[in-house]
Structures are given as structure tokens and as C-alpha cells.
């Protein structure tokens, strides 16, 4: 395997890992809020979270491209805070991936949280647990499996990201040239042998991961789509 292929792999793993961690941190309170609220606002938030499921990645890519440009508010803020450009950076990919993989982390968590009976939380409240305590001591232990599922799905989905990266990545080796882009490059330049290696590897990885996930939890698909 060439250096650039190893670069692409380590870049992809880094992107997927960081994205997954961010999504778990952001997605958990969001999923909790969604699981405990009804009404128009909740429905709207749920719809926004689910949008990356049905929107073509190019839509997201287009808006992100415009959003990250150095002359926008975000671009300039970033420049001031970090001294570097946001457009075509690894950080830009992270932001894009977080939005793109959001429903894959939030929805399994939300399903799991919804299955926690309100009565259990009431019981823990009467025993002296405030809402944070209730979450930590009752909800978390009962939904551990779903966290693993959500993290795995978020990770795997980010590994498979292509359309968004194609539009906002800029194909910079070592910085934004992730696996899917490297593969695309190889096909374009007719390096079919290398392409087989990467593509085949990705197929095996996805198959293994999904097999493992489905074995653990037959309800998986409904958890994601519900």
C-alpha cells in the first residue's frame, strides 16, 4: 500500500473518530430532549435532524462551500480564532461530517431514550435524584448498547462520505483526501488495481461492521429509520 493510500486511511479514521466523538457529545442531549418533548417545535427539530437522510449530499456540500468561504462571517471568525482558513481544511470536513452523520447518531439514541419509561425517572426523582443524576444513574446504564450502536453508525457513515467531501474537500492529500476521494481519484486515473484494493477493503469493513451491529440488535434498522 502506498504512502498516499495510508494517508487516506489514517485521515478517514481520524475524521470518522473525531466526528463520532463530537456527535456523541452533541447528540446525546439533543436526543434526550427530543425523546421527552412533543409538539411542533420538537417535530421541527426532528425534521431538521433527519434532513441529511434524504437530501442529496451535494445540497449540503453546496451550502457548506458557501458558508466556509473566507469572506463569510464564519470564515472570518474562524480566521480570527485559529489563524487558519476554514475552507478546504480538515476542520471543514469535520463540521460537514457532523451535520451529515447527525441523524445516524441521534436517531438510535432517541429511540433508546424513548423506551425508558417515565415512571422509572419519577421513581428516581422521589428517591432524591435531580435530572442529571436521573440521566446518569438510570438512563445511561439502560441505554449503553444504543450508545455503541449510535457510535458505530456515526463512524461508518462518515467513512462512507463522498458527495459532501467532493464539494468542500479540495482533494488535498494528507488533509482532505479521504478514502472515498482517493478511490475516486484512482478510478479517474485508471489505477484499477489500487482501486480494487481500497474499494474491496471498504466493502469488507462495512460488511463486517454491519454484520456485527445487526447481530447485536435486530431492531437496528427501525431504530434508525423510526
Amino acid at each position: 500500500m502506498s504512502a498516499s493510500e495510508l494517508d487516506a486511511i489514517s485521515l478517514t479514521v481520524a475524521l470518522a473518530s473525531i466526528t463520532t466523538v463530537i456527535l456523541l457529545v452533541l447528540g446525546t442531549p439533543l436526543a434526550w430532549w427530543l425523546s421527552r418533548h412533543r409538539g411542533n417545535v420538537a417535530a421541527l427539530v426532528e425534521a431538521v435532524v433527519a434532513m441529511p437522510l434524504i437530501l442529496p449530499p451535494t445540497v449540503l456540500g453546496f451550502y457548506l462551500l458557501l458558508l466556509f468561504a473566507p469572506d463569510t462571517a464564519l470564515g472570518q471568525l474562524w480566521q480570527q480564532l485559529t489563524g487558519t482558513r476554514l475552507a478546504f481544511s480538515f476542520s471543514a470536513l469535520v463540521i460537514g461530517s457532523v451535520i451529515y452523520s447527525l441523524p445516524f447518531v441521534v436517531q438510535p439514541l432517541q429511540s433508546a431514550f424513548q423506551r425508558i419509561p417515565e415512571g422509572l425517572l419519577q421513581a428516581s426523582a422521589t428517591l432524591g435524584a435531580n435530572p442529571f443524576d436521573q440521566f446518569r444513574s438510570v438512563v445511561l446504564p439502560l441505554t449503553r448498547r444504543s450508545f455503541v450502536t449510535a457510535a458505530s453508525l456515526g463512524f461508518a457513515h462518515t467513512v462512507g462520505e463522498f458527495g459532501v467531501v467532493l464539494m468542500i474537500g479540495g482533494n488535498i492529500p494528507g488533509e482532505t483526501q479521504v478514502l472515498s476521494i482517493a478511490l475516486y481519484d484512482q478510478v479517474e486515473s485508471l489505477q484499477f488495481a489500487e482501486a480494487h484494493r481500497l474499494a474491496g477493503g471498504l466493502v469488507l469493513f462495512s460488511l463486517a461492521l454491519l454484520f456485527w451491529l445487526y447481530r447485536r440488535d435486530r431492531q437496528l434498522l427501525w431504530g434508525v429509520r423510526a
Partner: protein, 364 residues
């Protein structure tokens, strides 16, 4: 010392509104009795803080405002324990784990230790079992222990025996009676079962359609003709007697009530102990003359103090026995034929087999 002062205006789950203003005593067991959808569970939820009644409501316990105007103390800051109908044990913790959960969160020291509740409720063999493997009765015992371990000043119970079979139910009531006496912990006990209420309650709050219908001491309410209770089929008077003597050869125990003897099925309890006896009105009949050579053992001299006015086939009589009262349900025809008048001296006949009060022992 003020007890639990309530002024509540709260919508219930079904189409009713709980509107209540009352004060409940801060000792003993207060039973909340009424048909379904009368607001009983809503009441408990409001006291616990699990439900927030509308503006203008007020919840105050022993001088501490739990809710007044905009101020609202959340449930985890109220010194309450709550035993739910469905136990609600945490499935990811063993029985012991559930108990330790309560222990870890109680606000301060308390005389109620893990060792004590384990002994009182006989939980030792259940300790390491996950809740899923426990029977309904066992779960409820753990739930009661868990609620106690949070060192509450007020214990709320929402039909805790609803999911239990008769034996487990009686056992549970037994535990509760002992705990009430031993711990001096006021309890608010919701039930739709009048027999249960009769066994436990010192004080009674009657609800219907979200409104208070009656309130008072258990004994007083039971023995009145104008109370809602007496309208029911199982209307019964409650009397208090002292255990006088066992007659094991007959399987009977003799109780002393107002100087009269009352025979009940044998209670294995020490002489001198006071017991409540529930005497259903339909098991009481009256006669003008002392019936000689009757198979009925319990014949007590009473005075007729009240006759229920009515046009139905059966009417209630209120009979006084010393300072206590009995109820009798007889046919109106008999009343006419006996020409019963207030003030008449009569004899009340009670079937001894009808007297039920399951055993409770002292807690060490």
C-alpha cells in the same frame, strides 16, 4: 403541629379536574379512597411534585412550603418516599442495588438502616436477584424498603397491593401497619379497596370526580349513616376491642368491646393488645329479645340511635354500643314490622366468621 396542607387545582389524566382544599394530619395513615378517575393518583403526584398543579395551588408539609405561588420544590428535594403501584424497581440493579440507590441519595442520617429494613421486610434472600426474577409481592417489598431508605418524612403509597394476590396483599398490609406504628412515619395511602382501607387507615379522605366528598377519622366516618361509605355494598362499622382470651380448643379468640364479649377466629396475639374489627353491616341483624339457644355467638346489647331514611328495600341502622357504633342493614319491611324507633334497646347479632383482621406483630 400542622400536617399536610393542600390547595390543589390540577387537571387529571382523564377528563376531570382535581380541586381540593384540605389539611391532612401529620401522623398515622391517611387513606385516600374513591372510585377510579376520582383524582387519587393525581393527588399523590401533586404532593410528591411529580405533577405541577395550576397557579394558585399550595402544598405545605410541616410548615415547609413545597409549592406556593411561583415557588415549586422539585420532587428530589422533597422529603417524600413514594411506593408506586408497579414497584418501579430499576431493572439494571439488583434488589440490593435498588436499596443502595436510595441510601446513596438520602439527605442525612436516619434511624432507618439497610439492616433494619432488610429485617422488617424479610429481604435477605432477595438481595442479589435482578428485579425481573422477583414476584410482584417481592418487588413491592423491595419498593417499600427502597422508599423508606430515602429517609422520608412522608410516605406516599399508590395502591401498592393492586398487583398482588390476596396472600401477598395481606402480608404487605401487615408490613405497612407495623412500619406505621414503629416509625411514626405519616403515610398517605391511596386505595379503591374499602377493606384494605379499613384495616390500615386512621384518617380518611374521600374523593369523587376530583372533589373532596368527605374527610375525617376512619372510625367516625365508618360509623355514620350520612357518609359516602355507608352507601356502599360493603359498608361496615369499625370497632376497637382488646384481646381477652384465646380459646384454642374452639379456634376462637374472645375480644372485649365496651365490656361485652366478641368472638372472632383465633388470633395468635398477646392478651391485652388492641385490635380493630371490621363488622360489615350486612352481617349484623337486630332483635328485640335476647335470642336464647341461638347458634350465633355474638349477641351484643345496643341502642338504636339512627335509622336511615329511604324507600329502598333495605335500610341502615346505626347502633351504639357504649362509646362505639355498629351498623346494621336490614329490610325495610322488618323495620316496619318491628316498629323500630330511635332510642330502642335492641340486641345486635353478628356472625363471628365475618370478622376479619389479619395478624400484625410488633416490629423489634
Amino acid at each position: 403541629m400542622s400536617g399536610l396542607a393542600l390547595r390543589l387545582d390540577c387537571p387529571g389524566d382523564q377528563d376531570f379536574r382535581l380541586q381540593l382544599e384540605c389539611e391532612l394530619p401529620d401522623r398515622g395513615i391517611t387513606a385516600v379512597y374513591g372510585p377510579s378517575a376520582s383524582g387519587k393518583s393525581t393527588l399523590l403526584d401533586c404532593i410528591a411534585g411529580l405533577r405541577r398543579p395550576d397557579a394558585g395551588s399550595r402544598v405545605c408539609f410541616r410548615g415547609e412550603q413545597w409549592q406556593l405561588g411561583k415557588q415549586f420544590t422539585p420532587p428530589w428535594q422533597r422529603a417524600i418516599g413514594y411506593v408506586f403501584q408497579d414497584a418501579r424497581l430499576f431493572p439494571h440493579l439488583s434488589a440490593r442495588g435498588n436499596l443502595e440507590y436510595a441510601l446513596a441519595r438520602r439527605p442525612g442520617e436516619s434511624a432507618i438502616t439497610l439492616e433494619k429494613v432488610t429485617r422488617w421486610l424479610e429481604l435477605e434472600p432477595l438481595f442479589d436477584q435482578p428485579p425481573a426474577t422477583l414476584s410482584a409481592g417481592q418487588k413491592q417489598r423491595v419498593a417499600i424498603a427502597r422508599a423508606l431508605l430515602s429517609a422520608p418524612q412522608l410516605l406516599l403509597l399508590d395502591e401498592p397491593t393492586a398487583n398482588l394476590d390476596h396472600a401477598a396483599s395481606q402480608q404487605c398490609l401487615g408490613y405497612l401497619q407495623r412500619l406505621a406504628t414503629e416509625l411514626e412515619l405519616p403515610m398517605v395511602y391511596v386505595s379503591h379497596d374499602i377493606e384494605e382501607v379499613s384495616q390500615l387507615a386512621d384518617h380518611l379522605l374521600l374523593l369523587e370526580g376530583g372533589q373532596r366528598v368527605d374527610q375525617g377519622s376512619m372510625l367516625a366516618l365508618c360509623n355514620r349513616l350520612d357518609s359516602r361509605l355507608s352507601q356502599e355494598e360493603q359498608a361496615a362499622a369499625i370497632a376497637v376491642g382488646t384481646i381477652a382470651r384465646d380459646e384454642p380448643q374452639y379456634g376462637l379468640t374472645r375480644l372485649d368491646i365496651e365490656g361485652q364479649s366478641l368472638y372472632v377466629t383465633q388470633l395468635s396475639q398477646p392478651v391485652g393488645q388492641q385490635r380493630r374489627i371490621r363488622i360489615p353491616a350486612r352481617d349484623v341483624s337486630v332483635c328485640r329479645q335476647y335470642p336464647r339457644q341461638s347458634s350465633i355467638l355474638n349477641i351484643l346489647p345496643v341502642t338504636l340511635c339512627e335509622i336511615e331514611p329511604g324507600t329502598g328495600p333495605r335500610i341502615l341502622l346505626r347502633l351504639s354500643l357504649g362509646s362505639q357504633y355498629l351498623l346494621a342493614r336490614i329490610t325495610r319491611k322488618s323495620a316496619m314490622e318491628l316498629d323500630l324507633q330511635v332510642g330502642d334497646a335492641l340486641f345486635a347479632q353478628i356472625k363471628s366468621a365475618a370478622l376479619l383482621m389479619e395478624g400484625t406483630d410488633h416490629i423489634e
